[in-house]
Symmetry: C2
Subunit: 156 residues, 2 copies
DNA sequence: AAAATATAGTTTACATATAAACTATATGCA
DNA sequence: TGCATATAGTTTATATGTAAACTATATTTT
């Protein structure tokens, strides 16, 4: 009902119900994600990239030559979405589609030289921001957070 | 570079660099959020609601009578976004805009009877799914997760 | 080989989302 | 009072995002 640090003019409940804590934890997860995402997006915008575009380039860095279907799986989005992302990135000359010689249906996606340069220029900026954001947690807390999030993801 | 539980055929690095751990923790946060969000969205779709629409109704439950600007702040989105959300929800007769008698520019947003019924029917389904998702963590872990996420959000 | 089925990518219709320009009303100040 | 400025909501242009239908190519089955 209120943040622990907000002004209160009524008695504190001794403890929240476990169910309420669980529900609020999901809300907190969403809020925290949104906030960090917006902060990263703002920084990427200075470099003329959207978050989705950065995700594509960063994924291709270690997975060049994937098909669009594989790219969609790596990005956790639909293949229809990938079509539009690649259309725009291709128009910016940051990636290219190469016809798969062994499968007439498939494209293999590659970074262009320009795409690689763009990524090299943006990655340090992106990473510095993420690191600074996580600086409020000590090393052990970060490890714990990562472990708990991973458990949550795997429970699905 | 790999999940701790994935098969490995090469020596394990004794530990990842703290910077790599921090970067991967952000990626994990994003992945976990996406996964849970998609699972909730799928459930809401059975009830003919999008996640954004559910967020509006759930927010109005405890904040009826807010202005569109206030609603935008509560939802962490722009006021332009709120216009479209309300247009569609109004067309579905789930919310209504009431002109503020004290400010000719402002609208006060209210749930309709239909909107209230819809929310009552959807909330239990939503909450059960969230609770079940968090069931893989014990009570203490949930508390820790919530605390760490809140620290992260407040660091921005 | 021919027909049935599956798969990769595209298209379409729609719902979010943003930033920035625009409109109408309030507010502050000279 | 009357002008300057601020604020609430809308509109516009653009980028995501989904689900579902569609096209073209592979694969499987008979």
């Amino acid at each position: 009902m209120h943040d622990s640090d907000s002004p209160r003019f009524y008695p504190l409940p001794v403890h929240e119900e476990p169910e309420a804590v669980r529900l609020r934890t999901w809300v907190q997860l969403a809020r925290t994600f949104y906030r960090i995402e917006q902060s990263i997006s703002a920084r990427l915008a200075e470099k003329e990239l959207t978050m989705a575009q950065f995700d594509v380039l960063a994924t291709l860095r270690y997975s060049e030559g994937v098909t669009q279907k594989e790219l969609a799986e790596l990005l956790l989005v639909t293949k229809g979405n990938v079509v539009g992302l690649l259309d725009r990135l291709q128009k910016l000359d940051l990636v290219e589609r190469r016809a798969d010689p062994d499968d007439g249906r498939a494209n293999r996606i590659h970074l262009t030289a320009r795409g690689r340069r763009k990524l090299e220029s943006v990655l340090p900026v992106h990473d510095r921001l993420v690191l600074r954001t996580l600086d409020c947690l000590d090393q052990q807390e970060v490890g714990t957070l990562r472990r708990l999030l991973k458990s949550l993801e795997q429970a699905l």
